[in-house]
């Protein structure tokens, strides 16, 4: 029976690893790893995601095997007496320094990606800078219970003028162009999330955070609200449509013209 229990705990790393490998290499599990990518923004995040999972998998399998092996080898039916060992300063140092080094490496290694996605951009407002220093966003996203309103500045490129173009629950964007979006909420906290861009930004009422991204494919994608915003949270999704820049201009012009401007 003791051997059975050791095998049971051996099954954890073995099965766990098999499932992860199956997911990554699409064996037995379809579409179980990261969703498809539609923009350059995902490159860094996907790289980190894979890197972290490789390191974590090594530790997971290593400790899991060690645990199962020691359960198997030191089972009571196999030994008469336990060894009387209290401590080992060298071992303690070893398993403090190696994880510490790994963690510091991981922390430092992923810093640039966070900076690239969050800070290093002219749309980001550094402390002390006035909002006038910022460029005009491509689109202003207004979230409310339970929908999305997308406001384009229109032909004059200035918001809050009467040629603003308003689109409800449909965000049309040019592909291959960098998009800066300003997010606002009318009521509660929402979160603007595009799964296939690995993008997520909470919209706390009173704050107007900015995001930037680029989509390199034309097609229809989903925008989800990813922060609980009430009973209809799950309904709060909108269509994201990327078209070629020329088609985008046409679409904008068409709306502008039907509005009579």
């Amino acid at each position: 029976m003791d051997r059975f229990w050791s095998l049971l705990f051996l099954a954890v790393p073995v099965l766990g690893l098999l499932i992860v490998l199956g997911a990554v290499f699409n064996v037995g599990l379809q579409n179980a790893w990261l969703p498809e990518s539609i923009g350059p923004r995902t490159e860094g995040i996907d790289y980190l995601f894979n890197l972290f999972h490789i390191i974590v998998a090594v530790v997971f399998v290593g400790t899991g095997l060690l645990l199962a092996y020691s359960l198997f080898r030191f089972r009571a039916t196999n030994r008469q007496v336990a060894s009387y060992v209290h401590k080992s300063i060298w071992l303690e140092l070893l398993w403090t320094i190696i994880p510490a080094g790994t963690l510091v490496f991981l922390a430092m290694h992923q810093l640039p990606y966070w900076q690239a996605n969050k800070e290093d951009h002219r749309a980001f407002e550094p402390a002390g800078a006035g909002s006038s220093d910022l460029e005009t966003p491509t689109v202003r996203v207004v979230a409310y219970q339970f929908g999305w309103r997308f406001i384009y500045p229109g032909l004059d490129g200035v918001f809050d003028t009467r040629d603003d173009v308003i689109s409800e629950n449909l965000l049309v964007l040019p592909s291959h162009e960098e998009i800066v979006a300003e997010l606002r909420s009318l009521d509660v906290i929402h979160s603007f999330a595009i799964n296939k861009l690995r993008l997520k930004q909470d919209i706390v009422p009173g704050l107007s955070p900015r995001i930037w991204f680029m989509i390199t494919q034309n097609g229809d994608w989903e925008i989800n609200c990813m922060e609980l915003c009430g009973w209809g949270h799950f309904r709060m999704s909108a269509r994201l449509r990327t078209v070629s820049p020329k088609d985008f201009e046409d679409w904008l012009m068409e709306i502008v013209q039907t509005r009579g401007y």
Partner: protein
């Protein structure tokens, strides 16, 4: 310290009167009775929280179909189909119940109360009446949370995190009315109860230890409880204040958390200039340390149980203590990792990312020390030991996924997906609840004088362990795909429809896991009355609680023992037995020779 001891010498002369039924079982100041009261209330709420989880899983697997039992009872006219706000109530209440009514009362209320005086050689808590008060303050909390279920809107629906303005504006959601107020009141009582309890624990552990029991001779269980109590005493007032502020926002027209000019459900907030981020900071300033409150005591208990059944001293006692202290200290500076995508300054994201990465270090030190404790031992696979080993195994998974999420770029992707759900269920179910089972199987003989049935226990373990992994491991896969949490119908847009079969598999495993708990319930009550008699020290353990009768008498010890060695003297070559109790003078140890456990080990 001297004075405290002499206080006890005085109390020894006072022979307690035999109290009546009410004083003995209900309004008792005895820490053991209070501990058991906490234990039973928490286990009942565990059933409640589990039932809520089953309803959640039903909706994830067969959305909008008739939920068994609830459907024919609550939503008869709708064909038994639940409404979305009912679903938001389900996960809100599941989280609230499990955290505030199950895990924290189980760890600190039940095991803390029961074990602290026994393990440190004290007759009772430092403040027995305060102790009683801390239990009875749970009852207003229980009652108001139960009332919240029956408030309009089926109960609070703002998540257990209760983010404003959803939670502060009455109109924001069907559950944001009286239900939310009752929820806040309930948590306020829990908070006050826990503050009283933790002060009591700190005082007891610091001042009522038996002579010779230095801080570095304390069992890890007591270390875990002490550090947890300190964490709670420091962090809970912040939450309590935040709860009061939210109550004031809701009822007195203040605006701590509610910005001006919001239009929520056509209600306009006027003249309030608050910021919801403030609540997030205050809430997580408590609730992140709360994560460690929910794991540190179990880490301590598991350390003790591992040593006992590996018959081997704890490997690296001091590093274990230091790493616990480090987890507690650093636990106060990592709360911002819950807010990576909240819109706070990205630089703060960097700071919190680094501190979060670093808090993985003491946890990993603990895991390696546990592994080294097992290495070279003589491992007896009792049910309690199996649960403890599974704690390590599961905690590794939960901890490692924590490192992945600590990277804020990755968190931006997995935030609010099932990856998070998988992570904290591995830590809180795979870790804490499995540890609680381990501790229950371990200390049940002490509590009730009888052994839990081992065969049933092993079936219970096997089924729980298998289906626990069947339930929560696939949630990682959901998370890798970005499957969102807290959505009543994530398949709404068709985006995640291909994950439906996986969700059904998870749900089946969850049902099977729930069914496996029935074995435990039957075993628990059967063994309580008809189980094998345990004797004083069925496990041949070293710590002080095993030197007294099972169950221990009122005032615990006939004579306060004098402690001459640490708690982990297992398999010491200088001693004949493979265990060496902390106190030499315990009169009754020889009685344990005839226990079934001893016989079994002789076979």
């Amino acid at each position: 310290m001297k004075s405290a001891d002499s206080q006890f010498e005085n109390r020894e002369s006072v022979v307690p009167q035999q109290p009546g039924f009410w004083r003995h079982y209900v309004f008792s100041t005895d820490h053991k009775v209070i501990g058991l009261q906490f234990l039973f209330s928490a286990l009942i709420w565990l059933l409640m929280g589990g039932a809520l989880a089953m309803a959640i899983r039903w909706q994830m697997a067969w959305p909008w179909t008739r939920i068994p039992i609830i459907g024919s009872w609550l939503f008869q006219s709708e064909g038994g189909q639940i409404s979305p706000e009912f679903y938001t109530m389900l996960f809100t209440m599941h989280g609230t119940v499990m955290i505030f009514f199950v895990i924290i009362p189980l760890l600190l209320g039940a095991f803390g109360n029961y074990l602290i005086p026994l393990m440190i050689g004290a007759r009772d808590m430092a403040f027995p009446k305060l102790n009683m008060l801390s239990y009875w303050l749970m009852w207003p909390a229980f009652i108001s949370l139960l009332m919240a279920f029956f408030a309009p809107g089926y109960g609070p629906g703002a998540g257990w995190t209760a983010y404003p303005p959803l939670s502060t504006v009455w109109e924001a959601s069907p559950g944001s009315g009286w239900a939310q107020t009752l929820w806040l009141i309930s948590l306020l009582f829990v908070g006050v109860s826990s503050i009283l309890g933790s002060i009591n624990y700190i005082a007891t552990i610091l001042f009522l230890r038996a002579p010779g029991l230095d801080m570095l001779r304390l069992p890890m269980t007591i270390w875990g409880l002490l550090i947890t109590a300190i964490l709670q005493a420091l962090a809970l007032p912040v939450l309590t204040v935040a709860l009061v502020m939210q109550l004031m926002d809701r009822h007195l027209g203040t605006g701590f958390f509610t910005p001006d000019n919001l239009i929520i459900n056509n209600f306009e907030t006027v003249g309030t200039v608050g910021q919801p981020l403030l609540w997030q900071h205050l809430f997580w300033f408590y609730s992140h340390p709360a994560v460690y409150i929910m794991i540190l005591p179990i880490m301590g208990m598991v350390s003790d149980i591992l040593c006992c059944f590996a018959r081997k001293p704890l490997f690296g006692y001091r590093p274990m203590v230091y790493s616990m202290c480090a987890i507690a200290g650093m636990g106060f500076v990592v709360w911002g990792h819950h807010m990576f995508v909240s819109g706070m300054h990205p630089f703060m994201g960097t700071v919190f990312m680094i501190s979060t990465m670093m808090i993985a270090l003491p946890s990993s030190v603990k895991v390696f020390n546990w592994l080294a404790t097992l290495w070279g031992g003589r491992i007896h696979f009792t049910t309690s030991m199996l649960f403890s080993i599974s704690f390590i195994s599961m905690f590794i998974i939960g901890g490692l996924s924590g490192i992945v999420m600590a990277a804020n770029s990755i968190d931006e992707f997995v935030h609010d997906t099932y990856y998070i759900v998988a992570h904290f269920h591995y830590v809180l179910f795979g870790g804490t609840i499995m540890g609680v089972f381990s501790a229950l199987y371990f200390w049940f003989p002490k509590m009730f004088g009888r052994m839990l049935n081992e065969t049933a226990g092993k079936w219970h373990f096997l089924l729980t362990f298998v289906f626990l992994n069947g339930t929560f491991f696939p949630m990682h896969i959901l998370g890798w795909r970005g499957f969102p949490r807290r959505m009543a119908d994530p398949y709404f847009s068709g985006q995640f429809l291909d994950l439906l079969p996986l969700n059904r598999m998870i749900t089946w495993c969850a049902f099977a896991m729930a069914a496996a708990q029935l074995i435990f319930i039957v075993n628990f009550f059967y063994s309580m009355f008809w189980g094998q008699r345990a004797g004083k020290n069925p496990w041949h353990a070293n710590t002080l609680e095993w030197t007294v009768d099972s169950p221990p008498p009122h005032d615990n010890f006939q004579h306060i023992p004098t402690i001459t060695r640490g708690p982990y003297e297992y398999s010491n070559p200088e001693h004949d037995e493979d265990y060496w109790p902390q106190a030499d003078d315990s009169a009754g140890l020889e009685e344990s020779i005839n226990t079934p456990a001893t016989k079994a080990s002789e076979r």
